[in-house]
Symmetry: none
Subunit: 190 residues, 4 copies
C-alpha cells in the first residue's frame, strides 16, 4: 500500500515527524483564529490528516495546547538568544516590542503569557519567559535605561497586560507605538 522503498531507516518515522509538525502548525493557526474552543476536527482538517493522527501525537487537547505554547516559547527563546548574546542595552525594549507585535491577532501566544485556560502546570511558561527577559531587564537597568526600582514581577505584569490588550483589540501599528510609548516611559528612569 505504501509502495515506497523501505530504504533509509527513517521510513515511517519520517512521516510521523512531518505529521506532528503539520498538526502543530494547523493547531497554531486554528487556535489563533478561533480561540481555544476550536474543535479538534477543524485542526485535523486544516492539517490534512485524520483526526486519529492528531490524537496519536497529542493524546489530549490540553497536550496540544501545551505543545503550542511550548513551541512558541522555544521560538521566542531562539529569538531572544541573539539579543541576550549581544550587548545592546536596548535589547529589552526590542524584545518587549516584538512580543507585543506578535501578540496582535495571536491568541495562543497570549495564552502562553497568561497561562490562561490551559493547565500548564508542567512548563511554567511565565517562568520560562521570565528567564528570557530577566537578563535583558538586568542589562537595561545597569545601563540606566530602566528605572532601578522596577522588579521583574511588575515588568512581567506590564508586558503580559500589553500583549493581552494587543490581542483583543487588534491594534494597528500606530496604536501599538502609542501604547508602548506610555509603557516604556513608565519603565524608564525619570
Amino acid at each position: 500500500m505504501t509502495g515506497q522503498t523501505k530504504g533509509p531507516v527513517a521510513g515511517r518515522r519520517a512521516d510521523a515527524v512531518r505529521n506532528r509538525a503539520r498538526v502543530l502548525a494547523a493547531a497554531e493557526e486554528v487556535f489563533d483564529r478561533l480561540g481555544g474552543t476550536a474543535s479538534t476536527a477543524e485542526i485535523a482538517r486544516v492539517a490534512g490528516v485524520g483526526i486519529g493522527t492528531v490524537f496519536r501525537h497529542f493524546p489530549t487537547k490540553q497536550d496540544l495546547l501545551a505543545a503550542i505554547v511550548k513551541e512558541r516559547l522555544d521560538r521566542l527563546w531562539v529569538e531572544a538568544e541573539d539579543l541576550v548574546a549581544g550587548d545592546d542595552p536596548e535589547a529589552f525594549f526590542v524584545f518587549f516590542r516584538r512580543l507585543v507585535r506578535q501578540s496582535a491577532g495571536k491568541k495562543s501566544i497570549v495564552d502562553a503569557l497568561a497561562q490562561e485556560g490551559v493547565g500548564l502546570r508542567a512548563d511554567k511558561p511565565i517562568g520560562t519567559l521570565q528567564r528570557l527577559i530577566e537578563p535583558l531587564l538586568t542589562r537595561a537597568k545597569a545601563a540606566g535605561l530602566v528605572r532601578a526600582d522596577a522588579e521583574l514581577p511588575e515588568v512581567m505584569g506590564v508586558l503580559t497586560g500589553t500583549c493581552q490588550a494587543a490581542l483583543g483589540a487588534g491594534w494597528d501599528e500606530d496604536l501599538q507605538a502609542r501604547v508602548l510609548d506610555i509603557v516604556f516611559t513608565g519603565l524608564r528612569p525619570r
Copy 2:
C-alpha cells in the same frame, strides 16, 4: 403597568425579581470563576433554581452574559458619576486603579473591557467605558496630571491591558501597586 413606584412590586412578581437577581449573581460568580464556557446548569445550581428559570429570565446564554456585562457597566457608571461630578483631577487615576482592583479574579469585568466572547452588539461596552473615562482623562490632562499627548485610545489600551493582566495573574495588592506605578508614571508628564 401599575404606574406606581417601582418598589417591591406586587404579587408573585417579587419572587421573580428576586430569582432574576439570584441568577444574575450566580452567573457572575460562576463566570468569574470558570469563564464564559461555564455551563448554564452550573449557574442554575449555584442560584438554587431550576434550569428553566434561568432561561425564563435570560432566553439565551448570550443574553445572560450580556446582562452581566451591562450590570457591571451600570455599576461602574454609578461609581464613575461621583468622580465625574466632583472636581478632583486625580479622579482619573482613582477610577483607573479601581477598575484594575476589581478586575483581579473577575473574568467578566475583563470581558466587558475587552468585549471578548460576549456578542454585545447592543451596548458597545468599550464605547460605554470610554464615555466614562473621557471626561476624567480630559480633566486630568487639563490639570497637568496626564501628559498632553496621551489620547483616549492608547489610554484605553493601557487600561484594558492592565485589567486583563490583573485578572489572569491574580495580583496581590502590592504587585498591583507596583504595576500601576509604572503605568501611571508613563501617563504623567515628564
Copy 3:
C-alpha cells in the same frame, strides 16, 4: 380587586365560561395554523389568558385537542341535523362537499376525521361522524344517487382521504370541484 358587582349569581362563573371559550377558540386557530405541536404558551397568548388558565380548563394538552375535536364534531352535528331532518337525497353530497371545503387549511378538523395523534379513545370521532353520515348515505342510496354496493366504511375512507388531501395541499375552489367530481362519480351508480 375584581371591583365589580357580585350581582347575578353567575359572577365568577361567567368569566370562567368565557375563558374556556376563548381558550378553545384560540387553540383551534393555533392548531389549525401550526399543527398539533404548537405550544400551549402560544395558545394562552392568543387567547389572552394566563397559561394557568389554559390548564385549569384543560388539564392536559391532549384534553384540549380532544375538546377541539369534540367541539368541531358538535358543530358538524348541528350543521348535519338540518340536512338529516330535510328529505333532500342530495344532502349526502352537500355534506360531503361541505366537509371537504372546511378541511382546507384546518388541521384539526382533519384530525377529527382521522383521529390521528390525539388519543381520542373516549369519543370515537369517526364513530360520531359515521352516525352523522349514515342516514344521509342511506337516503342517497335509496334515491339511487349512490351505488347500492357502497358501504359506510369505504365511503368514510374516501371522505377522510379527500379531506386530508384538501388540508395538506390547500386546494383552491376549482381543484376541490375537480377532485370531488371524480369522487362523486365513483360513488354514483353507473
Copy 4:
C-alpha cells in the same frame, strides 16, 4: 474515489455503509410508527448504534427525514420505471394501487406524498411523484381507461388523499379494495 465497482468498498468504509443503512432503516421504522416527532435517541436505539453515529451520517434530523423520503421516492421511481417501460395501459392503476398499499401504516411515505413537515425544498417530492405518474396517466387516458377530462392535479389529489386515509386508518386488504373500486370508478370514463 477508487473508481472501482461500488461493491462492498474497502476497510472501515464497509461498516460505515452498513451503519448508514441501519440508521436509515431504523428511522423509517420509527418514523412510520411514531411520526416525525419521534426522538433521534429512539432511532439510535433501534438502529443499535450510538447517537453520535446517527448525527455523523445525518447531521440534522431534517436531513434524516429528507433522506428517508428521498430513499422512498427512489424506490418508487425504480418500481415505476418498469411500469413506464412496459406498455400495459393498466399500469396507472397498478401503480396507484401499489402506492396505497404501501401507505397503510407508513407515515413517511405519506409524508413524501404530502411533503408535510419535512423541509424538502430540494427535491419537491410531489413534483417527483408527478413525473412518475404523468406518463402512466397519459397512456391510460390514451387507452380510454381513464376519462379524458381528468387532469394530473386532481388525480394527484385523489391519490394523496387515498394514501393518507390508508395510513391513518390502517385499512385491511378488503377495505382498500373497496375504496379503490370507488376511486377507480370515478376515474374511468362513463
